[in-house]
Symmetry: C2
Subunit: 465 residues, 2 copies
């Protein structure tokens, strides 16, 4: 053990520091094993402070670790000097719940599903919902401004956070754990920390917004002729159903084919596989009947030529089956094996032009399939590129970089984002440098330098500096 670690260990309860176990710091897609000088597991905000102060004084770099489910290598320091990994796994307390305020205060290491369950326990909804919710930790969700399935109605992690407690790189503790809806007292440090991916400090706790549980929920698949119709259907749904629409997901025929190919036992909603369909989820309050609302929506959509077929879930279990179709698409994608995956957003009205233009440009590069699906209501598509049927991703290794570049250049031309919800991490640093406004990049560097002058926080993530 180095002198630094020995000195630090002496300041902390026994067992706070331990060596990393092999494989423990792997990226979920298995691309890189992270390095670690050691893994620190602080049990309190004060211990996080002690650790950061020591690291800052010794210029030892730090990588914060939540559930390790991030997809852009933000939690994986795979080159440079080995950092101290600070895992929040012991700080999992729900510190308080205020049902009458619709607020929950959770420590950063709390598993997202546990936060959801704690809310449900007082008849409230914490609406952040994503595939990794069983292992992702709320601190990581905030550090990466996680999105997921219900952003359309409830916003992303940023919108769900009222206040933060965080430890800054010098070890000072910011107590910003307010549970206020309105507070205009100075710069928005909260939103600066959210989405900074552990490069400006470590979030240790958060005050989060809760919502009433819907009294009625229903889901439907509608077959739409094309993405433009899907957008028009969304506008119609908003006009008829207002803010009761919790999710509005686009699914392509390619995605359904992938399910047939890789998960043949999964029950699909339509006997004849459509070119495009949408999954609509509705949650109501009071006496509103979500089934009737979806039936009325279908009638109006059918009349307007926006939907040719539709199925409405008749029970909670059928609704869960519908969602299983949507949520199995990433698994099907993994089994097919993508050449390159892209988490993009473009302005809503440009989606119908963007989707085919991208496909045409990619077909120039090779015989590929595009599975385009996702959060249409947010303009956020997972636009993933796959081998032709019967071929393997390894055959496409030589065009991989060009595939990514083609998609991202087109997104940029459409004034979109090359990382709608996954963040930058270490995977997209070059993309950030290529596509981000240079004035914003310069401001980001100045802020990083101001708040972390020794550059200890998650070096190599977001900014190369």
């Amino acid at each position: 053990m180095s002198d630094f670690l020995a000195t630090l260990a002496a300041q902390l309860p026994h067992g706070t520091l331990r060596p990393a176990n092999p494989g423990e710091l792997d990226d979920p897609r298995g691309r890189h094993e992270g390095q670690a000088l050691a893994v620190a597991r602080p049990a309190s905000t004060l211990e996080v402070s002690t650790i950061l102060k020591a690291c800052n004084q010794a210029s030892v770099s730090v990588v914060p670790l939540g559930g390790g489910t991030g997809l852009v290598l933000g939690q994986v320091a795979h080159d440079g000097p080995a950092p101290l990994v600070i895992s929040l796994e012991r700080m999992t307390a729900i510190r308080a719940i205020y049902p009458s305020e619709n607020v929950i205060v959770a420590e950063a290491g709390a598993i997202l599903a546990d936060v959801q369950n704690a809310a449900q326990g007082v008849d409230r909804l914490f609406p952040l919902s994503l595939a990794a919710e069983g292992s992702a930790r709320i601190g990581g969700n905030l550090a990466t401004n996680a999105g997921g399935l219900n952003v359309l109605r409830y916003g992303n992690a940023r919108d769900l956070c009222l206040g933060l407690e965080a430890v800054l790189p010098d070890g000072s503790i910011w107590n910003g754990l307010k549970r206020l809806r309105k507070d205009n007292t100075g710069y928005d440090l909260k939103n600066l920390m959210i989405g900074s991916e552990g490069t400006l400090g470590i979030i240790t706790a958060a005050a989060l917004r809760l919502f009433p549980q819907p009294t009625g929920e229903a889901a439907a698949f509608f077959v739409v002729p094309d993405p433009q119709a899907a957008l028009d259907l969304l506008a119609l749904a908003r006009a008829q159903l207002g803010e009761t629409i919790s999710a509005f997901e686009l699914i392509s025929g390619v995605g359904l084919d992938f399910l047939t190919e890789t998960l043949p036992d999964l029950r699909q909603p339509f006997a004849v596989r459509p070119e495009w369909c949408v999954l609509i989820d509705v949650g109501t309050s009071g006496a509103l009947d979500p089934f009737v609302m979806l039936e009325d929506l279908f009638t109006a959509a059918f009349t307007a030529g926006l939907a040719s077929d539709g199925v409405i879930a008749k029970s909670g279990s059928e609704r869960a089956e519908f969602w299983a179709v949507r949520e199995s698409i990433p698994e099907a994608n993994r089994r097919i094996g993508s050449i390159s995956s892209h988490d993009i957003s473009v302005p809503l009205s440009t989606i119908p032009a963007f989707i085919p233009e991208g496909i045409a440009a990619l077909r120039e590069l090779g015989d590929v399939r595009v599975n385009c699906f996702g959060h249409l209501g947010d303009g956020n598509l997972h636009y993933n590129v796959f081998p032709a049927k019967g071929r393997d991703r390894r055959e496409y290794e030589d065009i991989r970089a060009e595939v990514k570049r083609t998609v991202h250049d087109l997104v940029h031309a459409y004034d979109g984002s090359v990382s709608a919800e996954h963040g930058i991490g270490r995977l997209k640093v070059e993309d950030l440098e290529r596509y981000q406004d240079p004035v914003k990049l310069a401001a980001m560097r100045a802020i990083k330098k101001a708040l972390d002058p020794n550059g200890i926080m998650n070096p190599g993530a977001v900014l190369r500096i």
Copy 2:
């Protein structure tokens, strides 16, 4: 004209610079006349850039000016060297509207009411709404993160902004005018600029969120026994009406007395003046009938003992009359003349304890009346202190500072905010220093220094530095 101004004038179209007219830079409450070296009226983002670059090089300080309606002297440099005032009054264009995306792009100098009207012109709603909307400019609304009447449903200015164009202190232009719902590419510079009150740069344009126009609107006054019942009524209303509640405003008997005293011709909702009442506004979509919803809410509230009387507006004009009552309270307050006014928020569940505890503490100081009213759903109260009936505010001059201190200390003890929506400006700099978390304050100073190293932007506002 100084050398600096002469050199600057030569770089700009004729007439861009002019002397300030007497009275032009007055604070809306008439407390301070602002100073100005000159008033610059750029017509484009490029001209803003030219001006800031020159000021930064010459270390000439700058005060950005929108509609001048801010209540905390953020736009009024009343001591120190006279700054160059940069008025956005010529940059008023609506650059684009995208109805199918629910997005409008407006220049910073656009009057808030004009943005609302432009949205209405394409059958959309821009929900930011506040008393000064006829003269406030959207750039100022964003710089101060304005709140207003519809925050409960639609959020504050921050929540309504998708993207910004801004000129940083060195004159560099940040083109962040994205119209994306999701974009996780780097630090949240947008939210850092929003609410920084012109101390980090000048917002020149914004992409703003629009919403469908409600198809039905209705308003009601309910008499409630006390603030706790008002909060319980809000929870009941949310359970029954979901997200259709656009506003939920608390009004005290003191406020109604003030109306009777100063605006006797204004029609009040109840023959017998209640101790507390709430104004509820509902906007629906589809076939929902907001009148029936409010009737049902009243029945449930009456049964639960949360409301003893109620009136529902039967027409649009009656709804407007109801709102006139609420919106006349600030005018009544002005006519009575406050000893000290406070724009505060406390955690929602603590409001019922806070209100009487504050009144009791204030009565220890002197014979005062408290008019407590405002945005209950947001936990944001205007908690304003007035002379006893028949007495004048000037008689209270000696306890004024103590009144403010008493309210703000109590707010702080309740973990609240001493500026829920008005901001800090120059009026509340000492409050910020007294009540803000010291670690956040230090981070704010570091950010200010990093982005505005010459300290030219709105010096004296927010931070003393």
